[in-house]
């Protein structure tokens, strides 16, 4: 699985999409640098969440640039409690702007092992770097091996395409 993912990440088409996309993972922040070679997989949902899985079976979660732009200035981020067990599709937190509140959902089943406490004092990281410094939580994935087969998880290209279809 690991090698297959690696192969895909060096697919030239994918690289060009990544270079252009603001919904790609930031290479300078923890969700990427947690593993020296970067995440083993990055997945998206049509609900505008992202997941960056690492080889140790944990994953960082957050919302996409598209979602954070639509939300506007984040004023408060409700962070999950550690050790919470959640199924795919369950809310693990919420992001508030002046005018709206949005729940964020687990893309896959897992246990919360860490929340990004920086968001308590700097909720605006959700806007400035939603796919990097603005990560919301880290989970231990319940079934890391099923990431590639689980329904509803999109690649960056598929996610970008779904945004175009919405237009």
């Amino acid at each position: 699985m690991f090698s297959r993912t690696l192969l895909r990440t060096i697919n030239p088409l994918r690289i060009s999409v990544r270079a252009q996309s603001s919904n790609a993972l930031s290479k300078a922040a923890l969700p990427f640098t947690y593993s020296p070679s970067g995440p083993s997989a990055v997945k998206y949902t049509t609900q505008h969440e992202w997941l960056a899985a690492h080889a140790d079976g944990t994953a960082f979660l957050g919302i996409t640039k598209y979602a954070s732009d639509a939300l506007g200035d984040a004023t408060y981020v409700e962070l999950p409690e550690k050790e919470t067990q959640l199924e795919a599709g369950e809310a693990y937190g919420s992001v508030e702007s002046v005018k709206s509140a949005s729940e964020v959902y687990q893309p896959v089943a897992g246990e919360i092992i860490e929340a990004n406490d920086k968001l308590e004092s700097q909720p605006q990281l959700i806007n400035s770097d939603p796919l990097g410094e603005g990560w919301i939580a880290r989970i231990k994935i319940a079934e890391p091996d099923s990431l590639e087969t689980q329904e509803g998880l999109l690649t960056l290209e598929q996610y970008e395409r779904s945004l175009k279809e919405d237009e």
């Binding site: 049509t46 609900q47 505008h48 969440e49 919302i63 979602a67 639509a70 939300l71 506007g72 200035d73 004023t75 408060y76 409700e78 809310a91 919420s94 992001v95 508030e96 702007s97 002046v98 005018k99 709206s100 509140a101 949005s102 729940e103 964020v104 959902y105 308590e120 806007n127 779904s162 919405d166 237009e167």
Partner: protein
């Protein structure tokens, strides 16, 4: 993620979209949706990057590209914000019985009001409930100018037409050929002064007053020193055909930015002002809404002459404090998710429900601490009372505080 969108500045709000994608779709496509009315400035909004949303039957900008909600809000508090409020209904009420009519449908003394002065008032149903809040200006003894809410236009019209049946000489006429623009903020007077003809001055136009002014290009505008932000500012009525050039001339000034509905709502919330459909509705009297000041002293003991709708109930509430709950303002004592419309308010025991939230959000002028308005049962409505507000499964501590939350800067001379 799922959106609980809260740009619900109208009483006839569309049901909230189920998810982000649906929200963004609706935001994008409703601007071209059939049946939505456009103001004279519609194309300008689009050109300026306005995110157009359906609002009270109009396609209106909720925010503009390149300016976040908070930036727009703070810009208005520090410079000048231009708002298109042409969706609001302008009208005139004319005739010998105009004052008598106003004295039937509002609790405000329009006999004593000086010509050229406007005041906030409320239209009352027979039970003393608020049909709409309105700004009414006396142009002359038998000639009044009114601005009412866009979202209430249909109900107001039906209400006024019904009420007019009992009056001999008063004619109510909606104005459809004029736009309404609000220019708000500490630089508003500089920006507006700059586009007036050389001999025109805003220096002696005080809060509440309304007067005709000549522009540098010879066009005429009607200027009221009023607004909905708590800042000094103006609401300008202008013929539709002159509106675009006028708006452009205001925006040419670098102190001015266009501001959308989102910031309009957070600004009015900080100013402690009511939004119809939230703080006000037909079951709420002006006493309960903490708007007793619109009930003129001279109209509280009527032995002869016209009594306003709901007089007995309202006067009883004033004299005997028979009302059960009152509009209040609150401020969070901690960080947390914002309470929104409908959130329940409890005593510190966390069990006894004593009220509900009518508007709530982070306050951009107060470092994004959460504030809001709501109704709380007596005697728990006193300033300084500590209560709890429920947001989803959390109870968050709030303190009832004085409104406005942010000091007003009206130009009173």
């Amino acid at each position: 993620m799922r959106w609980h969108h809260n740009i619900d500045c109208s009483i006839k709000r569309p049901s909230p979209p189920k998810d982000t994608a649906a929200m963004i779709r609706s935001v994008r496509f409703n601007s071209t949706q059939a049946g939505l009315k456009k103001t004279a400035l519609h194309d300008l909004h689009v050109e300026l990057g306005g995110n157009m949303v359906p609002f009270a039957g109009y396609s209106m900008p909720v925010a503009y590209k390149g300016q976040s909600h908070i930036e727009s809000h703070r810009w208005t508090r520090t410079h000048a914000g231009l708002f298109d409020v042409s969706h609001m209904l302008q009208s005139t009420l004319q005739g010998k019985d105009a004052v008598n009519f106003l004295h039937k449908v509002t609790p405000t003394d329009f006999q004593q009001l000086h010509p050229g002065v406007g005041t906030l008032s409320v239209l009352l149903n027979p039970n003393g409930g608020i049909v709409d809040d309105t700004l009414i200006t006396k142009q002359s003894a038998h000639d009044f100018y009114m601005v009412t809410n866009a979202a209430c236009a249909e109900r107001d019209s039906q209400f006024l037409v019904d009420e007019l049946k009992s009056v001999a000489d008063a004619k109510w006429t909606p104005i459809t050929d004029r736009s309404l623009l609000a220019l708000q903020g500490p630089d508003a007077h500089r920006v507006l002064q700059h586009v007036l003809a050389w001999d025109q001055s805003l220096a002696d136009l005080y809060f509440g007053q309304r007067r005709s002014y000549k522009l540098f290009n010879g066009a005429y505008i009607d200027v009221a020193r009023s607004g909905y932000t708590g800042e000094d500012g103006f609401e300008v009525s202008i013929p539709n055909e002159d509106a675009l050039q006028f708006a452009q001339s205001l925006l040419d000034n670098e102190m001015t930015k266009p501001i959308g509905l989102a910031a309009r709502d957070s600004l009015r919330l900080e100013a402690g002002l009511c939004l119809y459909g939230h703080e006000l509705d037909e079951s709420i009297t002006p006493v309960e809404a903490a708007l007793s000041w619109v009930i003129s002293k001279s109209r509280r003991n009527i032995t002869e002459g016209v009594k306003f709708n709901g007089y007995d109930k309202i006067i009883d509430q004033i004299n005997n404090k028979t009302h059960k709950s009152l509009r209040v303002g609150y401020r969070y004592q901690t960080k947390g998710p914002a309470a929104r419309t409908g959130s329940k308010i409890f005593l510190p025991d966390g069990k006894t429900e004593v009220g509900h939230v009518t508007s709530g959000s982070a306050s951009p002028s107060l470092d994004n601490i959460n504030i809001g308005q709501g109704y709380v049962l007596k005697p728990h409505n006193k300033r300084g009372t500590n209560l709890l507000v429920q947001v989803r499964n959390k109870l968050l501590p709030i303190e009832l505080v004085k409104m406005p939350f942010v000091p007003s800067n009206y130009y009173r001379g």
